[in-house]
Every structure is written in structure tokens, then in C-alpha cells.
């Protein structure tokens, strides 16, 4: 059976980032991301990326785990890098057929990929260092609309259920001798299986809705959450938020 690494797989380990109040972490990290995304100078972007890497390092999350995620994200960044490389107008320094590469292109492509990479790392840090339901509770406490939190919550809760449901169907077809081939019969059968999956999901959602209303659901999801800020949380928050402000400050004053 396939294994689906959950982004919060390493939420249980210990590190200064893990112990940081999730609300404060959310605000500070988002602030830092915004600041990095807004950085206009490549030196600042490099510094931002460096900070992101440092924070991820401090979080103790195994490199291999991050690698698995980055594996699917890096091609994406690369794609943007290449597009930008060839499309930004400027003085050409090299051309391949009719495509020109310019200094401006290199600069902008590097700047933007650096920002993307740093932001993704930081996002990963935010979501990877606390259980996802805890993060959602933090969102809720921070005033993210309840409906939006519910959407995230149910996606998180049911995505794996759905994948497993399909695996179950596929396994059941397998033990009864069905082999996937590229012929009409195979396609038809798979189509039916997917259809059943939709019907099942639909029915599951209705039943779940009944279960929710049976226990008093009125459109708002209420959870118990306990958050407490201590002094160390404040210090961490000021450090990271300070970094964000500093990046912008330097950009404003010197660049």
C-alpha cells in the first residue's frame, strides 16, 4: 500500500519551533513570508532564504522528509525560473534560437525563485511543526473565518479517507482477478469504480452531515483549544517578526 506522508508527520518531535505558540508562530512566519515576497533586492532575498533554511534547521525536521516534499515542488519553481529567464525583456547576453537571455531576466528569475523557495520552506515550517488540527485551531483563534477553517478541516480529514476508499475498491477488484490494461473493458470497469467512489463519497457526506446535526451542528464548528503565550514565545515572535521588519527596513533605506 502506498504511504502518504502527512505534512504534520513530525509534529511530535521537540524543537524551539515546535514549542512556539502556534498562533504567534503563524503571525510571525506569515509576516516574514510577506516581507521576503516583497523584497526587491536579490541580496535581501538571499538573506531571507538563508533565514528560512536556518529556521527549518532549528526545527529538527529530518532533511529527508523535507526533501520528499521539495522533490515535487522544485520542478515547479524551475518551471517559473525558465519561463522568466526567457521572457523578461532586457539586453540579451545569450540567445538560443529565437530566445534571448538577459541580465534582467537572470536577475528577476533568481529573485523570484529565491522568494518562492523561501516562502515554501517557511510555510512548510509552519504546517510541519504542529499537528494540523492544532494549526487550524490557531487559525480560528486568529480570526480566520469559521467556514474557511471547516473547509480546510474536512479536506484534511477526508482526503486520506477518499484515497483509501479508492485503494479498497481497487484491492477488491484486484483479488477478484481484475488487471488494469489499456482496453475498453478495463477502462469501463475503472470508470465504474470511480463512479462508485463518487456515490460512496456523496452518501458518506450526507451521513456525516446527519451525524453532525444530530450532535448540534448549526453551521459553526466549535473546538476546545488551549493556547498560552509565555515569555519565550514572545521572544521568538519578536525575533522573527523583527527579521521581517528588518528586511523591509534595509530595503527601504539602502536599496
Amino acid at each position: 500500500m502506498l504511504e502518504f506522508p502527512k505534512i504534520d508527520k513530525y509534529a511530535g518531535i521537540k524543537s524551539p519551533i515546535h514549542s512556539w505558540d502556534q498562533r504567534a508562530k503563524t503571525v510571525s512566519i506569515l509576516l516574514l513570508i510577506t516581507s521576503i515576497v516583497l523584497a526587491q533586492d536579490i541580496r535581501l532575498a538571499v538573506f531571507g532564504l538563508f533565514c528560512a533554511i536556518l529556521l527549518v534547521y532549528v526545527s529538527n525536521i529530518p532533511l529527508s522528509f523535507i526533501g520528499r516534499y521539495m522533490h515535487s515542488i522544485i520542478p515547479f519553481i524551475l518551471f517559473f525560473f525558465i519561463i522568466l529567464l526567457f521572457t523578461v525583456p532586457g539586453k540579451a547576453i545569450h540567445s538560443i534560437y529565437f530566445l534571448n537571455i538577459s541580465i534582467e531576466g537572470i536577475y528577476l528569475a533568481s529573485l523570484i525563485s529565491m522568494r518562492m523557495f523561501a516562502s515554501i520552506l517557511l510555510m512548510f515550517l509552519l504546517l510541519g511543526t504542529a499537528r494540523f488540527d492544532h494549526t487550524l485551531k490557531a487559525f480560528e483563534k486568529l480570526g480566520v473565518p469559521n467556514k474557511f477553517v471547516q473547509i480546510l478541516m474536512f479536506s484534511y480529514r477526508y482526503i486520506f479517507v477518499l484515497i483509501e476508499e479508492f485503494q479498497r475498491i481497487s484491492r477488491s477488484m484486484d483479488v477478484r482477478g481484475f488487471r488494469k490494461k489499456t482496453n475498453m473493458y478495463s477502462m469501463k470497469t475503472l470508470g465504474k469504480a470511480v463512479g462508485i467512489l463518487f456515490v460512496k463519497s456523496y452518501e458518506r457526506s450526507i451521513n456525516t452531515y446527519h451525524a453532525m446535526t444530530s450532535r448540534g451542528y448549526d453551521g459553526t464548528i466549535r473546538t476546545l483549544s488551549e493556547f498560552k503565550m509565555n515569555n519565550i514565545d514572545w521572544v521568538k515572535s519578536f525575533m522573527v517578526a523583527g527579521l521581517a521588519v528588518m528586511l523591509q527596513g534595509i530595503g527601504f533605506v539602502y536599496v
Binding site: 499537528r131 494540523f132 488540527d133 487550524l136 478541516m153 474536512f154 484534511y156 480529514r157 486520506f160 479517507v161 458518506r204 451521513n207 456525516t208 446527519h210 451525524a211 453532525m212 446535526t213 444530530s214 450532535r215 448540534g216 451542528y217 448549526d218 464548528i221 466549535r222 473546538t223 476546545l224
Partner: protein, 303 residues
């Protein structure tokens, strides 16, 4: 307090695909009573239970403590009546077991402290202490059943509806579950259980309804389980212990009211041995084998 907790009158329900699942069903439960709903697969037990808190709406009327649920706000109904579904996957939807069990109490507007206490006590009761942070989806089926029960226990409703609460539970857990159910009953809760677990029914139930789209029969466990024809007609069976004692009568054991549970069996044995001066005499005579054959045939156990 009104003298009827749950009253179903002339309820009929047709599924959208035209399948008539319930046909003119009537049933009632007094406060503090435990009702067992028996019947073959597909008899409409789950369908009936889903009507009791207004999830399904058929023709006929349903009254909870004398009030028609049609005229009541849903939130008022669910505070009185808690339902545990047959399929626990339908019941559990929050990211953690704790959140799931806390869901109902939080919606009831209870204080933080109270909610925590209730969650803790509900999880402890069903034997899931320490499961607070687990994702319900990753539990075993039996664990899910227990968690599903806990989500209703924590709401402490007056009326509790259980659809096959013990299916897939290991024997110990099943015992423990029925012990909780008994305790709830002793506290005066009204309970309706749909189950195929014949062995436990006489121990806990005050009244049995046999459903097969219609109500086929209604009575005390003794009335129901001594009606062999009825049992056969409805895919049911008498408890094993009852069968054993009926077989014992073939060996000369004197028994008019066959015991339905282990407890009754113990009482019966003790009494009949004591009256015989501390001994019991069993014997085989020429008709014994034929009589046994008759009995095993009656219960469908003939080889």
C-alpha cells in the same frame, strides 16, 4: 415527567428508490425502559432508528416525552435523544478523537471545564483513555465503534439509541459496553438498541420488538424467546443457554420456565438442586434421543 419517553405511531417510510422499508410501525418506550429491536438483516431497524431524532422523515408521528418532534426545534430534540449509528465511519468526522467527543457538548454550550470532564469520563468509560489525540480515521473498527459511542455518552441525553453497538467488538469489550448500557439504564435513561446479539438481550431488555418492515411481535424476553415458531419465522434464535436447558429437560431436568441468561440459569440450578436435597439427577431413557432430536430440529440445529 410524562409516562412515555418514545412513542412511534403508524410510521411508514419509503426510500427514494421505492423500497418500502417501514410499514405502519408503532412502538413505545417508557422512561427508564430498555427496548431491544430485533429482526433479520434488511428489516428496517436502522431506518426506524434514524427517524427517532428526525434524520429521516416518514409518514406517521413520533413523540418524545409526549411532544411531536415535528413541532420541535432540532436542537431541542438532540439534547434529549442521542443516536449512535451502525457505521462508526459515519459518526466520526473531526480530526481527533478528543474533538469528536467534545463536539456535542460544545454545541450544547457547556463550559470548557465541563466539556473536558465529560470527554475524559466518556473516553474512560468506553476504554479509550489515551486515544484523545488519535485521528478517528486511523482507529480499528472496534475502536471506532467505542469512540462513536463516546461521542453520544458525552452529551448525556435522556434517551439513547444504539444501532448494533457491539458488532465487531471483542468479547471483553462487548461485555464492558453492555455493562455501561446497564449502568445507564440504572440511572434512569431510556435506551433503544437494535442488535443481533441474542445472548445479551434477556439480560438487559425489558421489552423486545421484532421488526420485519412491520412489527411482527412485541413482548418480554420470556414471551418472545419461548415462541419457537416466531423465532424461526424471523431468522432469530433463542439464547444458547435456553437451548441447553431445554435439552436438559430431555435428561429429566425439571424446568418449566427455561432460563434465558446465565444469571437465571444459576438461580434455577441452585433452587432445583436445593429442593432435591443437594443433588441433581439426570438420566437417559428410551425417548431421550428422540426428544433431543426434536429440540435441535426446532432450533434448526439438526445435522
Amino acid at each position: 415527567m410524562p409516562d412515555i419517553a418514545v412513542e412511534v405511531e403508524a410510521l411508514s417510510y419509503k426510500y427514494p428508490d421505492g423500497n418500502l422499508a417501514l410499514d405502519n410501525v408503532s412502538l413505545s418506550a417508557s422512561p427508564g425502559e430498555l427496548i431491544a429491536l430485533l429482526g433479520p438483516n434488511g428489516a428496517g431497524k436502522s431506518t426506524l432508528l434514524l427517524h427517532l431524532n428526525g434524520i429521516l422523515k416518514g409518514e406517521g408521528s413520533i413523540r418524545i416525552f409526549g411532544e411531536d418532534i415535528k413541532n420541535k426545534k432540532r436542537s431541542k430534540i438532540i439534547e434529549k435523544i442521542g443516536i449512535v449509528f451502525q457505521d462508526p465511519d459515519d459518526q466520526l468526522f473531526m480530526p481527533t478523537v478528543f474533538d469528536d467527543v467534545a463536539f456535542g457538548p460544545l454545541n450544547m454550550g457547556l463550559s470548557k471545564q465541563e466539556v473536558k470532564m465529560r470527554v475524559e469520563s466518556a473516553l474512560k468509560k468506553v476504554g479509550l483513555k489515551g486515544y484523545e489525540d488519535r485521528c478517528p480515521h486511523n482507529l480499528s473498527f472496534g475502536e471506532k465503534k467505542k469512540a462513536a459511542f463516546a461521542t453520544i455518552l458525552s452529551m448525556e441525553p435522556e434517551i439513547i439509541i444504539l444501532d448494533e453497538p457491539a458488532s465487531n467488538l471483542d468479547p471483553q469489550s462487548s461485555r464492558a459496553l453492555f455493562k455501561i448500557i446497564k449502568e445507564l439504564k440504572d440511572k434512569g435513561k431510556t435506551i433503544i438498541i437494535a442488535t443481533h446479539d441474542i445472548g445479551i438481550v434477556p439480560e438487559i431488555a425489558d421489552k423486545i420488538y421484532i421488526l420485519d418492515h412491520k412489527i411482527i411481535a412485541e413482548g418480554t424476553p420470556r414471551q418472545i424467546f419461548s415462541d419457537a415458531d416466531l423465532l424461526k419465522k424471523t431468522n432469530l434464535e433463542a439464547p444458547k443457554i435456553t437451548m441447553l436447558f431445554e435439552i436438559l429437560t430431555c435428561f429429566g431436568y425439571n424446568c418449566n420456565d427455561l432460563p434465558l441468561s446465565i444469571d437465571e440459569a444459576i438461580t434455577h440450578l441452585t433452587q432445583s438442586i436445593e429442593t432435591k436435597g443437594g443433588h441433581m439427577h439426570l438420566h437417559i431413557h428410551e425417548h431421550t434421543h428422540n426428544e433431543i432430536k426434536k429440540i435441535t430440529k426446532k432450533y434448526g440445529h439438526h445435522k
